[in-house]
């Protein structure tokens, strides 16, 4: 049980968190068209007639996207539904060419599963905790709007329109920002092991809708708000902290929490109500008549299962069994590249305990000093032989570095824009 509470004037409040993580499925082509998915292309170049919803265009699903979602489901021990369907979610927006998003409401591809977050005393997680995952469904991403390039117009780029996403919906099982952060990190780690998503939050390959409500311990769930498109672990945690406080203050002042969609502003570290989405709640879901039910056979599922790698929990257990410390095992398994590198080292005959100590302290330290990634040094086991201190932040998702990257990307975009105009 988490000991995280909000201290209000009327006593302690518990925060209840559920996350809907949108993870871009790793695939060459889009979910329903043959256009490419690569990040960073010129606007509207990776757009097919299908993605632009030209009259008479029809969707045909990409097998690889289905396969990756199934493998992801298997990696969280979820029920795989051999019969599922695509539904249309109808709403109007400039980034949604069809006027509907093809998604799965009534019969998702993946059902109930779970993952376990590790104990982290310092973060207030005294013991490992199982977080329920209600479902994973496959859906289309929308395009992108740019608001700052013209005085009276927004610009629409459909390059992302139709890219496959997995929406991974957790149970409202988390009770602190730290638990939510650990959940996102663990999920990201699993996705990267499986290879179904690159987990690259700054490019938008992974983003979370954060559902937050507060209650007095033992009470029923309170009304929740949903903060959309939060794109880093640090921001997820900040949203929860800020939103829980806002709700407690609101309730204690005699107000009521309104079920609504909110947007996070990282610069001001606060959320605000998204009025533009207020009237869009009646999505009129119905089965997409352009697509038949998706039926998977045993051979398909067998291949998905057989192609799964050793996952982080199993790998950590193996390392522990070989005498590696719990801390090192955690550090070594958190990122798939590090784990692969370390496994290669073991295969080459290294002694597990000594090798683990060397990698986590000397190698990671050196890489950190050089500002390099383990993937850059793979195959060059001598790369970090010089002295270095252990890098304790390697496994901690590197938020600060990411924030910097994001800022750089923003600046680059701005420069490009300036050149154009």
């Amino acid at each position: 049980m988490s000991n995280y509470t909000i201290k209000g004037e009327t006593g302690d409040w518990e925060v209840v968190i559920g996350l809907e993580v949108h993870a871009q499925v790793t695939s060459n082509a889009k979910l329903f068209s043959g256009a490419a998915t690569a990040f960073g292309a010129e606007p509207n170049t990776q757009v097919s007639l299908v993605d632009a919803a030209m009259p008479g265009m029809l969707p045909v699903p990409n097998r690889e996207c289905i396969r990756q979602a199934v493998r992801t489901g298997m990696a969280i021990d979820a029920q795989i539904n051999k019969w599922s369907r695509f539904d249309r979610k109808n709403y109007f927006y400039a980034d949604l060419p069809q006027g509907y998003q093809i998604s799965q409401l009534y019969h998702p591809l993946v059902g109930e599963g779970s993952l376990t977050i590790e104990a982290d005393e310092k973060a207030g997680i005294p013991e490992p905790k199982r977080i329920g995952i209600e479902r994973i469904h496959v859906e289309q991403d929308a395009g992108k709007l740019m608001h700052d390039q013209h005085p009276t117009m927004s610009y629409v780029d459909l390059n992302r329109s139709g890219v496959a996403l997995m929406e991974i919906v957790s149970r409202p099982d988390m009770r602190s920002p730290a638990e939510a952060g650990a959940y996102v990190r663990k999920l990201r780690s699993i996705l990267r092991y499986v290879g179904s998503c690159d987990g690259n939050m700054e490019e938008g390959s992974m983003r979370a809708d954060v559902n937050v409500s507060v209650r007095k311990p033992g009470d029923e769930f309170g009304t929740r708000t949903e903060t959309k498109n939060v794109n880093s672990v640090r921001f997820v945690m900040a949203v929860i902290e800020g939103e829980a406080k806002r709700q407690v203050e609101l309730i204690e002042r005699g107000g009521t929490v309104v079920q609504e969609t909110r947007l996070y502003d990282p610069d001001r570290n606060e959320t605000r109500s998204m009025r533009s989405k207020e009237d869009a709640h009646d999505y009129r879901y119905f089965p997409d008549p352009d697509l038949l039910p998706l039926e998977l056979d045993d051979a398909f599922l067998d291949e998905c299962r057989a192609s799964l790698p050793e996952l982080p929990d199993a790998k950590r257990a193996r390392y522990l069994a070989e005498g590696i410390s719990a801390y090192n095992a955690e550090v070594l398994t958190a990122e798939v590249e590090a784990a692969r590198w370390f496994d290669a080292l073991l295969e080459a005959g290294a002694k597990p305990v000594a090798a683990a100590n060397w990698v986590t302290s000397e190698l990671f330290g050196a890489l950190n000093r050089l500002g390099r990634d383990i993937s850059d040094s793979a195959g060059q086991p001598g790369a970090g032989r010089r002295t270095a201190r252990a890098c304790r932040r390697r496994h901690d998702f590197g938020h600060d570095r990411q924030a910097g990257v994001r800022k750089d990307a923003r600046n680059r975009r701005r420069r490009r824009r300036d050149r154009r105009s």
């Binding site: 082509a29 043959g34 256009a35 010129e42 170049t45 990409n62 629409v156 009237d279």
Partner: protein, 100 residues
Amino acid sequence: MAIDQATVRKIASLARIAISDAEAAAMEGELNGILGWVEQLGEVDVTGVEPMTAVIPNKLRLRDDVIDADPLTGGNRRDDILANAPAPQHGFFGVPKVIE
């Protein structure tokens, strides 16, 4: 169940069709006529009947993960995509400024 003009306006708003008061009034009668007629479906006993999913027995085919395998469903045709756009802007579709 009969719908009133407020409902007509709500549906029109969901469907993003601007309607005048006169149109809403006219549509109220027409829609009630049609809805009243289709409601006879309620008298059919559908116990144990599954909703239709595929009218002709057929399986959903999945395609291979290949970029631009067929130019008709592939990318790299921005000129074609923008050819009929009411307000093309430097390779983008222009729309009235959206405030989020």
